[in-house]
């Protein structure tokens, strides 16, 4: 309950800060909108029309209520509403982030368990040696490598191409596989390492010795006793990586020219189209904060010993 209160306050704070941030920038949006037709009188009239001459907190409240009801204001540079500009973009970023996140889980959980089960084995030794390298590869460079290897050399996909989900759902996901992998691999290296060392740490505990003495094999001990303890820190970490993954998708969308929110955000920053920037920032930040909140709840659910208050 307290967590939910904190969540709501945080969301409000984010929206307020994002709103205020774009009010203090030097320069008046009317200057750019009017361009060559700029006269002080016209600027004044336009300011009045846009409501810029009203109290900043009144404008914040108007903007917030509009935002919640789906009326996000007008874009400066596209000549249409912000919702219209963003249409169809959110699904790309959401699908890409979710896919990358699921890939992180699908790669790292089985791999981490396998490595811990055969600790010191060939696979384990290769991983320990290479793991830091995988963690050091920036997602956007991995994306460029994938574009070269799988796009240009093996011709598995057309670099810069994209299929809208309305045209073909499979095609849409197909075009997201490599971008998602580019985001997922460095993260998966981190999670695998964490899970492996978490399991190996638990293997030193007394209850493990007891489990062995009852005649369990190493695999039996891991599966039946260790895993449920070792997985806890990993669940928290995996939930928190979603924030990084969303951030990673902003960059990787640019590498693969995917028409998502990240690409729109960058274009809007270039155009100084603040209403669009503001909305995208608030949406992404809200999603991230909400995911962290869910992560807290899930952690508490799977381990009732943790009381978060």
């Amino acid at each position: 309950m307290k967590k939910t209160g904190v969540l709501l306050v945080t969301l409000l704070l984010i929206s307020l800060l994002a709103f205020l941030a774009f009010q203090i920038i030097p320069g008046d949006p009317t200057t750019k909108l009017l361009g060559n037709e700029y006269t002080p009188e016209r600027a004044e009239a336009l300011r009045h029309e846009m409501g810029l001459d009203r109290n900043v907190f009144v404008r914040y409240w108007d903007w917030l209520t509009g935002f919640v009801t789906g009326d996000m204001g007008a874009s400066y540079s596209y000549g249409m509403s912000v919702e219209a500009v963003m249409e169809g973009k959110g699904i790309v970023t959401a699908a890409l982030s979710l896919m990358a996140w699921l890939l992180v889980i699908a790669i790292s959980i089985p791999l981490g368990i396998t490595l811990a089960r055969w600790q010191g084995g060939r696979l384990d030794r290769v991983f320990v040696a290479m793991n830091q390298v995988f963690m050091a590869i920036p997602p956007f460079f991995l994306g460029i490598l994938f574009t070269y290897i799988f796009g240009l050399v093996l011709k598995l996909f057309v670099p810069g191409g994209f299929i809208r989900p309305e045209q073909s759902l499979w095609g849409f996901f197909g075009y997201l596989v490599f971008p998602a992998l580019a985001i997922a691999i460095p993260k998966a290296a981190m999670v695998t390492k964490l899970l492996r060392s978490s399991i190996l740490g638990q293997m030193q505990e007394n209850y493990v010795r007891t489990a062995y003495s009852r005649g369990n094999s190493r695999w039996g001990v891991i599966r039946g006793h260790v895993l449920r303890n070792a997985i806890l820190p990993v669940v928290t970490f995996v939930a928190m990586t979603l924030a990084d993954i969303v951030a990673g998708s902003i960059v990787v969308e640019q590498v693969f020219a995917l028409p998502g929110l990240g690409r729109l955000l960058l274009a809007s920053i270039g155009n100084r189209d603040y209403p669009v920037v503001q909305c995208i920032v608030v949406i992404i930040a809200a999603v991230v904060v909400f995911m962290n909140y869910l992560a807290d709840i899930v952690t508490q659910y799977i381990d009732p010993r943790i009381r978060l208050g």
Partner: protein
């Protein structure tokens, strides 16, 4: 375990030393002028005269990578310096004095830390003009919370130690106790954070410049070069590859050092 027996640290230090040596040499000498164009030598593949080949203007890629690595390294260093200085002051004072201000600042810290860092950097850049000083300032600000948190926790732990009490008995004032007595004792805990800070700063600078909101031409940077190189992926794959490997080596070096010093590389 002694550091020189620690494989992670030794490899990390070796890679970083190599990169720093190359960067230092690059400041006085590069094989070619990084900006000299040669119309007769465009898009050459790697060969003895041009170890990493040439780009679309006939510029020597090795010379450009060295120059770009230097720029990226300097930006990372400036970023870490800002984050560390502000983090030491904020973390030191809040950890030492505690109280309600400590609570407020730490909650604010948590809020900033929960944000995806790239997003926050983009907002800051959107508010300023893109360029070298903006990116340093934006990334520097982003790094304050993580340093402040580490410093605060450690100062809070140290302040109840006997040596602090005895320093106070000898008449040392708060600031003297904090910066002359406690500070030297938290350095070992701080070092892995500094290393991981470099790691993150190089990654952040490269990402932002790749996106075109970081370093602007004619200034060089590895991220910017990767952006240019992507356009010639089919005709000159060695261009993107050389730049990417330079970025990886910088990140890997600091990552391994931090790992070796006992830091958590996921922090």
């Amino acid at each position: 375990m002694k550091l020189r027996h620690n494989k992670n640290f030794v490899w990390g230090a070796a890679i970083t030393a190599f990169m720093v040596a190359v960067i230092l040499v690059g400041m006085i000498w590069t094989p070619y002028d990084p900006n000299a164009m040669d119309g007769g030598a465009k898009m050459l593949s790697p060969r003895l005269t041009h170890l990493l080949g040439t780009d679309n203007f006939g510029r020597d890629i090795l010379s450009r990578v060295i120059e770009g690595a230097g720029a990226t390294f300097l930006i990372a260093a400036a970023t870490v310096a800002i984050g560390l200085t502000a983090g030491l002051i904020i973390g030191g004072l809040t950890g030492y004095y505690g109280g309600w201000l400590d609570e407020v600042i730490m909650r604010l810290n948590d809020a900033v830390a929960a944000f995806p860092s790239i997003l926050l950097a983009l907002v800051l850049i959107a508010l300023m003009e893109p360029g070298k000083s903006s990116i340093i300032l934006a990334l520097g600000l982003l790094f304050v919370p993580s340093f402040a948190r580490v410093v605060r926790a450690e100062v809070a732990r140290q302040k109840s130690q006997d040596y602090v009490a005895s320093a106070r008995l000898m008449g040392a004032g708060d600031l003297r106790v904090l910066f002359a007595h406690i500070l030297p004792n938290i350095v070992p805990v701080l070092l892995p954070s500094v290393a991981i800070g470099f790691n993150n700063a190089v990654l952040a600078e490269a990402s932002m410049s790749y996106l075109g909101v970081g370093v602007q031409p004619p200034d060089a940077s590895l991220g910017r070069m990767l952006n240019e190189a992507q356009g010639y992926l089919l005709t000159a794959p060695w261009y993107a590859l050389s730049v990417g490997v330079a970025i990886i080596l910088l990140i890997l070096g600091f990552g391994l050092i931090s790992e070796g010093l006992g830091g958590r590389s996921d922090a």
